[in-house]
Amino acid sequence: MTSDTPGGLLARLRRRRSQPRGRVRRRLGTVVRLTLALTLAGGVYAVFAPGLSADDTPQLSTAAAEGKVLFDQSCISCHGRNAQGVPDRGPSLIGVGAAAVEFQVSTGRMPMARQEAQAPRKPAIFDDDQTRQLAQYIQELGGGPQVPDGDLRAPGGDDEAMARGGNLFRINCSACHAFSGGGGALSSGKYAPSLKESTDRQLYSAMLTGPQNMPVFGDNQLTPEQKKEIISYVQVALKEDKDPGGWGLGRFGPVTEGLAIFLVGIVALVFTALWIAGKS
């Protein structure tokens, strides 16, 4: 039957088989063809695809994986499953960096107990390791600024560096946090908190990330050296240095001084006058 038809390669290829092949051979052929097709497609894709993008389970380091577990327990109700934020609840954390997480979590501000004008400092829920893990997770999730490791102060004994820190503090910080670092009121119930309990890392991360209404002081504006100078000034000159003139009355300035002169000075002297001269 095959020899009757006109021949040529093309003609032969166009001709249908006069007789179907055997079933097994057919099956085998299918498998081979499928395998070849898949390999071809996969190869082309692998060559031309733009590279692996984040899917539901990105590759995280161990610390970040631990952080993700903590995040899923405590943070997604306001910040969303992928830290993309929830409207009217919590902002997106993409790009905030480990520094922001370190600040908010180590000061206990996050997790926030309720929605209010400003998140107050409170006892931290997570310990140092857990904070680090959460920070690593957010860092790997969306990137952002990080607090450098190591000593965050100006070189010890360098008074001029601390003095420069003082200058920078007075230009950039004292307007909100007061000359003493004791904090101050902002509009409508907000406030710049006291720096009394802040650690070096918390000071650094706050400057770097600008939490809530605090302005952001990026590394181009205040270099890491300048941030360290400010930290030296705050921690040493403001906090460690004791008042030389006696009790500082809370370092509030004239308000407590005025109160003291009446409550101590005038009261003591009026009682003395009562003792001296009595009543008529």
Partner: protein
């Protein structure tokens, strides 16, 4: 001394104070009487000398003076020998001032209470009454003095020589002014000269016609990427002394707004502020238009600028107009751009006067 009580107001004859039988107290009382003072009650708290109560009181007063001496000596010792050099941290030098105050205070209080207790407890109690002899001088004296004064006018002759008096007055008036003129004149300095109240350090005219760059406090110029989104920087004109009190009206706040805030600010800019913004960057005068404090508290999320002195609040996204507090005028906006080297410059001085308002400000 004895306890003496007398009826107030009983008239007695003059006592002969040279009478040798009089006691000293009686002479004193007579002297007081002649000064219009009646000693009506005089009682020694310890009429019998040497009682236990008296000795106890004397010991108490003596103790006060002992404490004075000890405290004063302690003050001197501490003043001279206690270490007082200033060192950071917590050290003995920090106790210098408190110890000085404590010892001096105790010394003063002890001597004070010693003196007071001596007077109150050891000395006789007395009640005296003195006539006031107040009221006016009486008709006779008034007439005598009044007529003397009026007669002076007659003597000088104001009525007789009226024109002389008038000319004297006219001539003397300028002398009175002459006495005061140099004091006031030396103080007068015109505020309208050079329009100093309307110009700041950003004026190119004071910079040789060149546009003035924005600098940090240390004088380095500023690129846009130096200020982060949501950040603010205090900037100064790039002229000699620009970052000092010599140009106290020039400090400016450079703010990098978020995209949507910047778009809103640009769209809502009032005519005088149009074109002053550069990209997402705005620059407003830091000198509050209420009383001149630097309005420095920038809230990056609410875009409010709070001045700490009297709580004026300015809305940065709406021409820095005041939205709370006693301020009535927006913060002037500094028109900025970036020069060919990539640094911020001011394209001109502020378009309105900077700082607190004054009479001549339109």
């Amino acid at each position: 001394m004895t306890t003496e009580t007398h009826d107030h107001g009983v008239d007695r004859d003059e006592v002969d104070i040279f009478d040798p039988r009089l006691s000293r107290f009686e002479i004193v009382r007579e002297g007081a009487r002649r000064d219009g003072v009646e000693i009506v009650h005089y009682e020694d708290p310890f009429p019998v000398p040497g009682t236990k109560a008296e000795r106890r009181m004397v010991r108490t007063v003596a103790a006060c003076f002992w404490i004075t001496g000890i405290a004063a000596t302690a003050f001197l010792v501490i003043y001279i020998w206690w270490p007082w050099d200033y060192d950071l941290g917590s050290n003995k030098g920090k106790l210098y001032t408190p110890l000085l105050g404590l010892t001096l205070g105790i010394a003063c209080l002890a001597v004070g209470f010693g003196i007071l207790m001596w007077g109150k407890r050891l000395m006789p109690h007395e009640i005296s009454v003195q006539d006031r002899h107040d009221g006016n001088s009486g008709q006779t004296e008034r007439k005598l003095t009044g007529e003397s004064i009026v007669y002076m006018a007659d003597e000088i002759g104001f009525k007789r020589r009226k024109s002389l008096g008038l000319i004297a007055l006219l001539g003397l008036t300028p002398i009175g002014i002459v006495a005061v003129a140099p004091l006031l004149g030396g103080l007068i300095k015109s505020p309208t000269k050079d329009r100093i109240l309307f110009r700041t350090g950003w004026d190119p005219a004071a910079n040789g016609g060149r546009l003035v760059r924005l600098t940090r406090e240390d004088g380095t110029p500023i690129r846009p990427e130096d200020v982060s989104v949501g950040g603010q920087m205090t900037v100064f004109p790039d002229i000699p002394g620009g970052a000092t009190n010599e140009h106290a009206d020039s400090p400016t706040l450079l703010i990098h707004l978020r995209g949507e805030d910047a778009a809103k600010t640009s769209a809502d800019a009032k005519p005088v502020n149009q074109g002053s913004q550069w990209g997402n960057y705005v620059a407003y005068s830091k000198i509050c238009t209420h009383a001149g404090c630097p309005a420095s508290l920038y809230e990056q999320q609410s875009n409010r600028l709070l001045c700490p002195c009297h709580q004026s609040q300015f809305l940065i996204t709406d021409n820095a107009r005041p939205i709370f507090g006693p301020a009535t005028r927006s913060l002037p906006q500094l028109p900025i751009t970036v020069d060919e080297d990539g640094y911020f410059v001011a394209t001109s001085d502020y378009k309105v006067a900077v700082g607190p308002a004054f009479w001549e400000r339109p």
